[in-house]
C-alpha cells in the first residue's frame, strides 16, 4: 500500500511541477527525467542483478545515434524512437553474450572496453555519425503524437510520460517472479543455480532490459533536445548512471530519480565555483563509496523504512 502511494505521489508531484515551475526549469527537469530513465536501466543491471557495468554509455549512445541517424535520413520520430529502443537492447545483448562470461572486475573492464571501442568507432566514421561535434536534428521532424517537441511544455510532458512508464514498469518488474530471480543472482549465484535458475540467461535478460531503458533514454534525449553526437558515448556517460544509482540507492525503485535530481542540483550549486562538473562528480563518488555505499534510499531502508521499494 505505502509503496503504491509513494510512487503515485512522486508522479503526481512531477505533473504538478510541470504546471507550477517556470519554463526555464522545465528544460532542466526534463533532462533529469530522461537521465533518470537511463539510471533506472542501469539500476536493473547493477542495483537489482548485481552487474557492475562500466559501459552503459554504449547503449545510451547507440539508442541516441540510431534514432538521430534514422531521423536525419528522413524517418519519422515515432519509428525512429522504436529503432533507438531496439539499438539499446541489441547492443546490450550482444556485448552481454561475451561480457557475461566474466564476472566482477573483469566484467567491469570488458564492458568499459566495449563502450570505448564503440565510441572510437563513432569517431572513426565521423563523416557518417557527425563525430564528437554531432549534428542537430531537424526541428520540423521533432514531432511525436502531434506534439511539437521543440516547445518546453510538450517536451516536459513526453519526458514525464517516458519516465512514468519506466518507473511503473520497473516497479512491476522487480516485484515479479523474474525480478526476484534477478535479485537472486545478485545475492547468491551458486544458490540460484541450485534452485534451477540459469544464471547466464537470467543475467542476459536483465542486461537486455537494462539496454532497452538506456536506449530509450538516449533516443528520447536526442529527440527532446534536438542534438545527437558521439560525445554522449564517452566513458563519462557510463559513470553518470552509476553515480546516480549509487547516490539515490542501488536496488531501490526511486533511487535513480533521486540521484539524477540531486546530482543536477549539486552541479548547478557548484557551478559558481567551477565550470566543470568533474570535481563534483569525483568527490561525490568518493564520499559515496566511503561513507554511504547503499546510497540515500538504501540507507533509509536499512534504518527502518523497510517497506521502501
Amino acid at each position: 500500500m505505502r509503496p503504491a502511494l509513494l510512487h503515485i505521489g512522486v508522479l503526481a508531484a512531477l505533473v504538478a511541477a510541470g504546471f507550477l515551475l517556470p519554463a526555464y526549469q522545465h528544460g532542466m527537469l526534463a533532462r533529469i527525467l530522461v537521465m533518470a530513465v537511463f539510471a533506472m536501466g542501469y539500476n536493473l543491471a547493477f542495483g537489482y542483478t548485481g552487474l557492475l557495468s562500466l559501459g552503459h554509455a554504449l547503449h545510451f549512445c547507440a539508442g541516441m545515434m540510431a534514432t538521430g541517424l534514422a531521423m536525419r535520413h528522413g524517418l519519422a520520430a515515432g519509428p525512429a524512437l522504436i529503432l533507438g529502443l531496439a539499438a539499446g537492447t541489441a547492443t546490450a545483448m550482444l556485448t552481454g553474450l561475451l561480457a557475461l562470461r566474466t564476472a566482477g572486475v573483469s566484467f567491469m573492464i570488458v564492458t568499459l572496453m566495449f563502450a570505448q571501442a564503440f565510441h572510437l568507432t563513432l569517431l572513426y566514421y565521423g563523416g557518417f555519425t557527425g563525430g564528437d561535434e554531432g549534428f542537430p536534428l531537424p526541428s520540423a521532424a521533432r514531432r511525436l503524437f502531434g506534439l511539437d517537441l521543440t516547445q518546453a511544455g510538450p517536451r516536459y510532458a513526453v519526458a514525464l510520460a517516458l519516465f512514468a512508464a519506466g518507473l511503473l514498469a520497473q516497479w512491476a518488474l522487480v516485484r515479479s517472479r523474474f525480478g526476484r530471480s534477478m535479485i537472486a543472482m545478485r545475492e547468491n549465484e551458486e544458490r540460484s543455480r541450485m534452485l534451477g535458475y540459469n544464471p547466464f540467461t537470467t543475467k542476459l535478460a536483465a542486461l537486455a532490459l537494462s539496454g532497452l531503458y538506456s536506449g530509450a533514454a538516449g533516443a528520447a534525449y536526442g529527440l527532446l533536445f534536438g542534438y545527437v553526437g558521439a560525445s554522449f558515448g564517452t566513458s563519462q556517460y557510463s559513470i553518470l548512471p552509476l553515480l546516480y544509482v549509487l547516490l539515490g540507492g542501488a536496488g531501490t525503485t526511486l533511487g535513480p530519480l533521486l540521484g539524477a535530481g540531486l546530482m543536477a542540483w549539486l552541479i548547478d550549486a557548484a557551478s559558481s565555483l567551477t565550470d566543470s562538473p568533474l570535481a563534483v562528480i569525483g568527490i561525490t563518488l568518493i564520499v559515496l563509496v566511503l561513507f554511504a555505499p547503499k546510497g540515500i534510499l538504501g540507507t533509509l531502508r536499512e534504518k527502518g523504512l523497510k517497506w521502501l521499494p
Binding site: I109, A117, L120, I283, I286
Partner: protein
C-alpha cells in the same frame, strides 16, 4: 626515404613508446599484482607527473637542471599523493575490488579537475635537458629519445632487481601470495600496500617526466596511457611482471609501427576489442601462466 629506413625510424619511435609504456604499465601491474586492485586513476598519476615536470621547469630556469629536478621531484610528489590515497581511501574500502574502481574513478575526475584549475587547458612544452641530433645516413634522430629508451631500461632493471633480489621485493611478493600469512610473519602489510601503490604511481609519473619534452603536458593526457597500460597489463596477464614487460615491448613497438601505417583511431578500436576478448576468452593473458 626507402622502406628500410622508414621501418627503422618507425621502430625507433616504437621503442621510445614501448619504453615509456612499459614504465607506466609496470606501475599498474605492480599495484594489481600485489594489492589486487585496479587503479583507474593511474593515467592521472601519469598526467600529474608531466604537469609537475612543467611546473618545476618554471622554477628552475636552466634546462638540464630543471629536468633533473623534475625527474626527482615529480615521482616523489606523485608517490606521496598515492601513499595518501592508499591510507585515506583504499585502506578504508578494505581494498574491495569494485569499490576501489569506483573510488579511483572519482579520484581521477578530481585530479583532472585539479590540473585544469591550477594549470589551465593549454598544452605546455618542457625543454629537453640537452639538444643532440644523431645523424643517420637517411635521417637525423633526437638523441634525447634514445636517452629516454636507455633511462626507461635502467629503471625497469632497477624495479626488476628490487622485486626479485631485495628484501623489499621479498616482502612484497610474500604479501602478494597471502596477506594474512604475511601479517602473521610480522610484515607490516599496511606499509607494503601503501608503498606498492606509491611505487606504482611514481613509475607512471617518472614515465611522464621522460615523455614530456617530446609530447608536452596537458590535463587530459592521462587517458591514452591508462588505456594502453590496461591493454599491456591485461594482455601480459594481470599481475604478471614478466608478461607485462613482454606485452609492453610488443604493443609499444607495434603501436609505433602501426600508427605510421594506419589511422591511430582504427588501431585503438582494434586494441580495445582485443583487450575485451582476451579477458573473455583468455583471462590469464597471452603471456601469463594459468591461474
Amino acid at each position: 626515404m626507402g622502406t628500410g629506413p622508414l621501418l627503422l625510424l618507425a621502430s625507433l619511435e616504437g621503442l621510445v613508446m614501448a619504453a615509456v609504456l612499459a614504465l607506466a604499465a609496470v606501475g599498474l601491474s605492480l599495484t594489481f599484482g600485489v594489492m589486487r586492485v585496479v587503479n583507474v586513476a593511474h593515467g592521472e598519476f601519469y598526467m600529474l607527473g608531466a604537469v609537475l615536470a612543467w611546473a618545476v621547469a618554471q622554477f628552475v630556469p636552466s634546462a638540464p637542471m630543471g629536468f633533473v629536478a623534475a625527474l626527482i621531484f615529480a615521482p616523489l610528489a606523485v608517490g606521496a599523493l598515492a601513499w595518501l590515497t592508499d591510507t585515506a581511501l583504499l585502506k578504508r574500502l578494505n581494498y574491495n575490488p569494485e569499490s576501489t574502481i569506483v573510488a579511483t574513478i572519482g579520484l581521477s575526475y578530481l585530479l583532472q579537475q585539479g590540473a585544469l584549475s591550477f594549470f589551465g587547458p593549454d598544452a605546455r612544452a618542457v625543454q629537453a635537458p640537452f639538444e643532440l641530433r644523431l645523424q643517420f645516413p637517411w635521417f637525423g634522430y633526437s638523441g634525447y629519445k634514445l636517452f629516454v629508451i636507455a633511462a626507461a631500461l635502467a629503471v625497469l632493471a632497477a624495479v626488476w632487481w628490487i622485486l626479485s633480489r631485495s628484501r623489499a621485493g621479498l616482502v612484497m611478493r610474500a604479501t602478494q601470495v597471502d596477506r594474512n600469512t604475511a601479517r602473521a610473519f610480522g610484515i607490516n602489510v599496511d606499509r607494503v600496500y601503501a608503498g606498492t601503490f606509491a611505487l606504482g604511481a611514481g613509475l607512471a609519473a617518472l614515465a611522464a617526466v621522460l615523455i614530456v619534452p617530446i609530447s608536452q603536458a596537458h590535463y587530459l593526457m592521462g587517458h591514452d596511457p591508462l588505456l594502453l597500460s590496461f591493454i599491456v597489463v591485461i594482455i601480459g596477464g594481470l599481475g604478471s611482471l614478466r608478461g607485462t614487460l613482454i606485452a609492453a615491448l610488443i604493443i609499444g613497438l607495434s603501436d609505433g609501427i602501426l600508427s605510421m601505417l594506419y589511422p591511430p583511431t582504427l588501431a585503438k578500436i582494434l586494441a580495445t576489442l582485443v583487450v575485451a576478448l582476451v579477458l573473455v576468452f583468455r583471462p590469464q593473458g597471452l603471456f601469463g601462466a594459468k591461474a
